[in-house]
C-alpha cells in the first residue's frame, strides 16, 4: 500500500515557496481519500480538522493509536486513518 519514500520525495512541489496541496500527501481518512499537508503529526491533522483528541479514538493503519502517541506519529503518504467516537446506540 505505502509508496516508496523516494517516490514520495519526487512528488513535484511547485517552484514557488508556497505550500499548497500539489506537494501534499494523499491519505485515506474515514474512508475518503484526502490530500493533506506534508509534515503533519496525527495530532496536527486532528487540530486542522477541528477534532478534540480527548473525544475520539484514532486507528492508524489498522492499529489503535494511544492518545499520548498522537503528537509523535507523523502522517505519511497512503496512511489509512479512522477517527471514531461514541454516538447513540443500543
Amino acid at each position: 500500500m505505502r509508496n516508496d519514500p523516494d517516490e514520495r520525495a519526487a512528488v513535484p512541489n511547485g517552484s514557488h515557496a508556497d505550500e499548497t496541496p500539489a506537494g501534499g500527501l494523499n491519505i485515506v481518512l474515514n474512508g475518503e481519500t484526502r490530500n493533506v499537508a506534508q509534515g503533519l503529526s496525527v495530532a496536527g491533522l486532528l487540530a486542522e480538522l477541528g477534532v478534540e483528541p480527548a473525544m475520539v479514538v484514532v486507528e492508524h493503519n489498522r492499529r489503535i493509536l494511544a492518545r499520548d502517541r498522537l503528537d509523535a506519529t507523523p502522517v505519511s503518504e497512503a496512511d489509512v486513518l479512522e477517527v471514531v467516537h461514541f454516538v447513540g446506540g443500543g
Partner: protein, 265 residues
C-alpha cells in the same frame, strides 16, 4: 411495613454495583436533549453507546460525550452492527481505547432481517475479549446452550433477547428466559424486544436480573414519559417476582367469605 417483606439485593455485574436494573440505549432519539431527559427519567445508571466514524464535515460535536457525562452515567460501548468476530473485536478495542472502562456490550449479528445474533461467533469473540481483559456483557439469543457457553467463556453478564432488536414484540419465550436464569450464575439481563411498560414488567417477573432497552423509549411519542413508565415497570416486575405470585388457576375462587351471607331470597 412488616419485617417479613422481601428486600431486593444489590444489582452487581462483574463486581460493580449498579443503582438501577434498567439499562438503556442512546440510539434513535430525535434530539440530544430528549435523550438526556429520557435517560434521567429512566433512572438508569448504565447506558450503551455505539462506536462510529466522526463525520468530519459536520464536526465532532455529534459525539455523545458532548451530551452524556461519564461521571453521571456508566457508558457501555457496544459492537452493534458487527457481523464477524474480527469486526466485533475491532470495535470493542476502539471502544476501550476511549479510556472509559474495560467493559463492552458484545454483539455479533448473524442475520440482517431479524438481527438475531450469531451465537457461535459471539462465543468465540467473548473468549478472545475476556482473554484481553474485557468485562464482556454478551447479547445472545434465548438459547440455553449458547448462554451456558457464554458464561463458560467468562462473560460478566449474559443478555438473551426478549424478541428481535427494535421489534417491540415483548418476551416471546418466557420459559427459555426463566430456564437461562435458573441455570446461569452470572447476571442474566434481557436485552432487546421490549415494546412497552407491561413487557418490561413481564420480563422482570421472570426473575431475570435486569433489562436493557432502547427503541421502546426512544421511539415512544413521549420518550421522557415512557422512560419513567419503564422505570416503574421494571421496579414493579422485580418487586412482583420477589413477592412471589399467587398460583394461577382456571376457576374462580371468591375473595369474600361465604360465611355470614344473609338468609332468604
Amino acid at each position: 411495613m412488616s419485617g417479613t417483606t422481601v428486600v431486593d439485593g444489590d444489582f452487581v455485574i462483574g463486581g460493580r454495583t449498579f443503582a438501577s436494573r434498567l439499562i438503556v440505549g442512546t440510539g434513535k432519539y430525535r434530539s440530544n436533549a430528549e435523550m438526556v431527559g429520557a435517560i434521567r427519567a429512566s433512572g438508569a445508571e448504565m447506558v450503551t453507546v455505539a462506536v462510529r466514524r466522526v463525520d468530519l464535515d459536520r464536526g465532532a460535536e455529534e459525539g455523545i460525550l458532548h451530551h452524556l457525562d461519564p461521571a453521571e452515567f456508566f457508558l457501555l460501548p457496544n459492537t452493534a452492527g458487527c457481523y464477524t468476530v474480527a469486526d466485533a473485536l475491532r470495535y470493542a478495542r476502539l471502544g476501550r481505547a476511549a479510556g472509559l472502562s474495560e467493559w463492552v456490550k458484545l454483539e455479533v449479528i448473524g442475520d440482517e432481517r431479524t438481527l438475531l445474533p450469531d451465537t457461535a461467533a459471539t462465543i468465540e469473540a467473548a473468549r478472545q475479549l475476556v482473554g484481553e481483559g474485557f468485562s464482556v456483557m454478551a447479547y445472545t439469543s434465548d438459547d440455553l446452550i449458547a448462554a451456558l457457553r457464554l458464561e463458560d467463556a467468562g462473560c460478566v453478564a449474559v443478555m438473551p433477547l426478549a424478541s428481535p432488536i427494535g421489534s417491540g414484540l415483548g418476551v416471546v419465550n418466557p420459559y427459555y428466559i426463566r430456564e437461562i436464569k435458573r441455570r446461569l450464575s452470572v447476571p442474566v439481563i434481557v436485552d432487546a424486544g421490549v415494546g412497552t411498560a407491561s413487557d418490561a414488567c413481564v420480563t422482570m417477573e421472570q426473575g431475570v436480573d435486569g433489562v436493557l432497552m432502547n427503541t421502546a423509549i426512544a421511539s415512544a411519542a413521549d420518550p421522557v414519559a415512557m422512560a419513567r413508565a419503564m422505570r416503574l415497570a421494571v421496579q414493579a416486575g422485580r418487586d412482583a417476582y420477589l413477592a412471589g405470585r399467587m398460583e394461577a388457576r382456571e376457576i374462580a375462587v371468591p375473595s369474600s367469605p361465604r360465611a355470614g351471607m344473609l338468609g332468604g331470597v
